[in-house]
Assembly symmetry: C2
Homo-oligomer: 106 residues x 2
């Protein structure tokens, strides 16, 4: 751990939100502008913009202007292995626990 604990916490916090994860997921299919992300997710534009800002700040997505459009791409180098790795962990440890006690409140 080379950085402060706050920095790590902040970083993981960016991934701790299902809506942001859905945006990431949509971007894994390829480059998309904000409108396309809204369409794919059925999220409001302002919400998407706010969350893209968080993701961009943490280097999880990159932005590229094209006229009045802004295209976003996911940082595959980071996101792909991070999620694959998390998948593997969940397969082994997490899912067998879900539903036991700690069920997240709706």
């Amino acid at each position: 751990m080379k950085h402060t604990l706050e920095t790590y916490g902040f970083f993981f916090g960016a991934l701790a939100n299902p809506n942001r994860l859905q945006i990431i997921n949509v971007l894994r299919q390829g480059k998309k502008n904000v409108g396309e992300i809204c369409e794919a997710t059925r999220f409001e534009q302002t919400m998407v913009s706010h969350n893209l800002k968080v993701l961009e700040y943490h280097g999880m997505v990159f932005m590229e202007k094209d006229g009045k459009l802004r295209y976003y791409t996911v940082n595959k180098k980071t996101i792909k292995p991070l999620l694959e790795f998390t998948d593997a962990h969940m397969d082994e440890y997490c899912c067998k626990l879900l539903g036991e006690q700690h069920e997240r409140k709706k």
Copy 2:
């Protein structure tokens, strides 16, 4: 992504807290019981127990009873590469941004 977005979000949320990260960090040195974790972190016992529960739920730490003591170990298989990977990402993308705009409120 094989699991629900909520599950991933919940998982990363467990890592989105500096105190939990500090507990993890202490456990990386080796197996410790709750009292030893309190001593090492200077955290209150109840706070440590609450946070250990979260970490254990997500398979990030394991627990082993020994008399009235409960020893915890970190799940190195998951935590070590996850943190190393995050380090590498931060070296490249994150730290150069810190302090620019999104500084976390105190």
